[in-house]
Subunit: 676 residues, 2 copies
């Protein structure tokens, strides 16, 4: 028998199937169990995310307790207890003791857990490292007793092994408590359970979270909103990003009996008109059985789906954070640090990747006390979960690093995160986040998502650029103002002394040279019993023309609470956005307009916190205020905004063309240099 | 019926099992199919890695052809053909059409493929994006005909679906060809199939690789070594890093009938003495049935296993690249760039993570033409496979970034890769690489592996530091030399003119002040017919003492080929390492030693390529050469080297204490400054 023969047979004899639990046991790092520190955090995270999902599905305001007890140097007991709906007795073993088992994998809507892996992986890891079963206690409302069970995961079979089960009394009406004993390492600071829960609290203001640390420290993040985010709705997949093989599969697996029905019900975004158009273009009859569409016809169908205009994906399967919460979240992260600039948070319209809708949101703060000699701080969130590990593997990081930040005034080594006093928050919400691994710590490099992240971050960066170039312009204008007011009267005095004439009135001359409308702001407010005006705004028309101006203010939310007054009265008051506008005012040359402001009792407003915008005058002629930013026009029809954006922004992120010409700004000489 | 009741039931009713193929279909980014560009590369990579593994298992020098044909704008045909042993007909469908099916998962030895996922994932992706089956052609030597089959992967069942199969003639004696039709994007440059194959060629010099690109370009990397790397041997797991639950599992699953047998055969690294010691310490009898060891006894057993001295893990289950190949690989990457310094490659002794042996190897080049204003180039390899994606997620990257490179003379923002003219190659070889995801592009943050990477990189960095501080010292010495030779004679002339005496002989004075042995090197070699000496080495003893010196040279390998001569004759010639040493020479003050070198016919050697080392004199007194580096003593017993290392290197990477005091070097004033 020749050797080669035995070889091929020999090689074949080694081939065998691998159980999914064996696979993950051997590759537990893939699930986030790389090392004791991360394993402990992953365990906390999986249990907490499950608890939050369960509470939200049950429409209960989450109240979650996380306890971490040290049993030995490297052995911990992690307990996570929630007030969720509880789990039926028959489901408990599978939910906790079987990988790839869950309720959210097949549902096409936003959830933290999607894979049916996380908590079972923690049970697997606990058993692997300490040979100790996981204890679960759960109670559903309709049952007077709670159910408790000790579980190990049998990796050869990927099945729960029940060691003990019982019924017992529990004083909660409903809820679940899971206790895992595992090898771990506890640390505070970066990538700690504390940081994870703090991040979770930021983007889940409706949750109350308590952490008990091994050293006995107990921290509670109280809920700051009693409103549950709307429950995302399940929707069928959107045709955008649908692959040929996927469409083929869906056609052969659908319960729809006709192709017309399939297009209308098994896919989202197709109006009746669109269905007709797709059928016409593809040349397949509406009454054809979906299962009989094959080969080339499927390709024609897909081409037609990509050619017709579809409704944008519905966003009610998603739960974005929203601009208000993003701003509040950033304030929370910053603590006592005071940045110089908050960019208006960006929330993009929903888009689709691989048939799944998603939304990208971005917040940006800059300057002030933030450290300027370090890479920016990047806060990554996916489906309201903070991502603490694998920053370098994440599409959020690579997209942010891929933008040329030098255009926006930040220092940057090519391909790295920019360096500067900036915190950038990016949230991706989707019915399916494409994570790079089962540990769900980084978003994969999907073209569509990377593009949206790029556009959203660049929109925020543009605000930053405007702010920075405005600062440059403003400092020139202020310099000019200062010089004119100091130099011109001296020249006039000198000239009249030489001519032995009277000193002329320079008001008109100064006005002509100044050529600006100046705005001055005063804040104030103090003791709770103090009444009367607390702030003011003074506009002076230092131009030689009559000006028709509109004034808009953006203020901290508390400034517009009950008790806010102004004279003149506001034209429009948007309390939830902190915005006020005033009626059109006419100012003759050298005329002045005063707006008096009164804050609610006990509120104190810093003048720096009052952003003033003035419309009706070019920004070159405006001092101490900014022109009205684009995002005040949010009420324009979405289609118009989209069209404007499409025209403005390039197809590929990072290819944007506009640039600040700082050199040009520097080349401009202040007016007074003519004097020498 | 209260609402809560329906809710718990309702939630329970949504729970279900998820097929592993469904899971990966929905999460294909985890397998490396994030976007069309990466998907194309992953496909090439999985097929090529399989081909290399198959050839090596069959002890055949691999000859692999990779063809990429463009079928449409975003549709490609990838064909990979090898001269491996072929696959038996009955195994072909499962190997290509079923996830978690393979021969290497349960084998405890180094291989590229480990998971039984890769190529089936490519078949899944191809079907998903183009609805086209994968075509496989395979022939084993004993069968006169080849077998061909068209396969799709049925995701609901995770089973191959055979669309067509046949026998056909194939002119190869044995081998496999797989053809996949998939959606992709082809690009050259970074992260391209070209770069992947080039990287593969670097660390697999025994393979012949050919790439046919869509534009018709054909590139062949010829094999540069006809020697197959030794086939790694399968070994049982090593007790280091074994977890409690794992030991418990193994005790209950073993075929060994006694605990003594279990310890000796189911684990590696235990001598008979160690077995006895473990049994004594744990207090469990040697004849106990392994399955009857439970609970606390398992903990005692594990504690005993961790307490006794074990043999280090055997390395014959591993296939490291080796110092020679690392150096050659780096030369290959650099192309025409000429660095100023090659650090001696570092190969660490085997260590263990989670019971699996691994070895870390590092190569480092610095300076010269390399770009100095960019982050260093980091080349990552795992089990002889280049890692092109997810650099940021990789323990190699984070460990390298975590080292304080400013100590070694490089610029660095904290936590980022250092900036400087450097290429760093890191190879991790293991029976099981803990990848961060199934796409196998990044090594997870495992403590043991991170520590070894840290120690290996720091060893190379220390060579760099020595080189750099030597450069600083040398430039001071050269400056001193120049100044003394220029200034002293002038002082002498001036002084003798003033004294109207004769100019004194300054040789002894210069010698005393110089206090160095200087070495000058000449290269040369030219036309193939030119004969006679082509290089030379001149040593001058500018010290006032007799010196006994040994000279060692490190040369490009070709310099020591057939035809190399020297006068005096070498003491020792290590052709395979490019090293020559010469007999001890005695030099009186001001005496000079000439060594004439003659290269093989047709060889040309640059003087920069001759590294000169001199022993017998402190490096402070050496100009133009370096003291003998530690790694020439490689023949020391490994235990001694280890002990020395353990004493020298700290437990945690990055905590090393030694530092170059550049400031001190700068504070030293050149001698001649006394003159002013």
């Amino acid at each position: 028998m020749p050797t080669k023969r035995t070889l091929a047979e020999e090689l074949a004899s080694r081939q065998r199937a691998i159980s999914v639990a064996e696979f993950f046991e051997r590759n537990r790092q893939i699930l986030g169990f790389d090392n004791p520190q991360r394993s402990l955090l992953t365990t906390v995270k999986e249990a907490t995310d499950n608890a939050l999902d369960a509470c939200e599905e049950a429409r209960t305001l989450p109240d979650i307790l996380v306890e971490i007890h040290r049993l030995a140097e490297d052995r911990f007991l992690v307990a996570v207890e929630d007030n969720g709906p509880g789990i039926l007795r028959r489901e408990v073993p599978n939910v906790f003791g079987r990988l790839l088992y869950g309720s959210r994998f097949h549902a096409n809507r936003q959830a933290r857990g999607q894979q049916g892996i996380g908590i079972s992986a923690a049970v697997l890891y606990a058993g692997l490292t300490t040979a100790t079963p996981t204890h679960v206690l759960s109670k559903v409302e309709e049952n007077p007793a709670a159910y408790e069970v000790d579980i190990l995961l049998d990796t050869a079979k990927n099945q729960p092994r029940i060691l003990r089960e019982d019924a017992r009394a529990w004083d909660r009406p409903h809820g679940t408590r899971v206790e895992l004993t595992l090898k771990g390492r506890y640390q505070k600071g970066r990538q700690s359970p504390y940081e994870y829960l703090r991040g979770t609290a930021i983007v889940n203001p409706h949750a109350r979270l308590t952490l008990l640390e091994p050293d006995g420290t107990r921290t509670t993040w109280e809920r700051v909103s009693a409103e549950l985010p709307p429950l995302p709705r399940e929707i069928p997949p959107h045709p955008h990003g649908l692959e040929l093989g996927e469409l083929d599969q869906r056609l052969h697996q659908t319960r729809s009996t006709t192709l017309g029905q399939f297009l209308a019900e098994d896919l989202s975004g197709l109006s009746r008109r669109a269905v007709t158009e797709v059928l016409d273009k593809s040349g397949v009859g509406p009454r054809t059985a979906p299962g009989s569409v094959n080969g080339e016809a499927v390709e024609r169908l897909l081409a037609a789906l990509k050619a017709v205009t579809l409704a944008p994906p519905s966003s009610d399967c998603l739960s974005p954070i929203g601009p208000l919460l993003i701003k509040r979240g950033l304030k929370n992260v910053l603590g006592t640090l005071r940045p110089e600039f908050y960019a208006p948070p960006v929330t993009r319209s929903p888009r689709v990747h691989a048939g799944c809708p998603f939304i990208v949101e971005v917040g940006l703060v800059y300057g002030g006390d933030l450290p300027s000699d370090q890479p920016i701080q990047l806060l990554r969130f996916a489906n309201r979960v903070p991502l603490l590990f694998q920053q370098g593997a994440c599409a959020i990081t690579s997209t942010v690093s891929g933008i040329d930040w030098r255009r926006y005034g930040l220092e940057q080594k090519s391909g790295a995160l920019p360096v500067g006093p900036m915190v950038l928050l990016v949230h991706v919400a989707s019915t399916k986040i494409p994570y790079t691994s089962e540990a769900k710590e980084a978003v994969a490099e999907t073209d569509e998502i990377a593009k949206e992240i790029g556009l959203a971050v660049q929109a925020a960066a543009r605000s930053l650029k405007v702010h920075l170039s405005r600062s440059v312009r403003r400092s020139f204008a202020e310099e000019k103002f200062r010089i004119i007011q100091r130099i011109l009267p001296r020249i006039a005095e000198k000239a009249s002394a030489m001519a032995r004439g009277p000193v002329p009135d320079l008001t008109r001359v100064i006005t002509r040279i100044m050529d600006v409308v100046s705005v001055e702001t005063q804040g104030g407010g103090a003791a709770p019993d103090e009444a009367g005006p607390k702030g003011s705004l003074t506009l002076v028309n230092y131009t030689d023309r009559k000006r028709r101006l509109e004034v808009f203010l953006e203020l901290p939310l508390e400034a517009l609470g009950e008790g806010f007054r102004s004279s003149p009265e506001p034209l429009e008051l948007q309390r939830e956005l902190g915005r006020v506008s005033f009626p059109l005012a006419e100012l003759a040359p050298n005329e002045r307009l005063e707006i008096a402001l009164e804050w609610p009792r006990g509120v104190r407003i810093d003048p720096d916190d009052i952003d003033v915008y003035v419309a009706g005058i070019d920004e070159a002629h405006l001092l101490g205020a900014d022109p009205l930013p684009g995002d005040w026009e949010v009420r324009l029809p979405a289609a118009l905004v989209e069209a404007a954006e499409a025209a403005e922004s390039p197809a590929t992120p990072g290819e944007e063309l506009e640039e600040v010409d700082y050199d040009a700004a520097e080349r401009k000489e202040p007016v007074a240099s003519d004097e020498d």
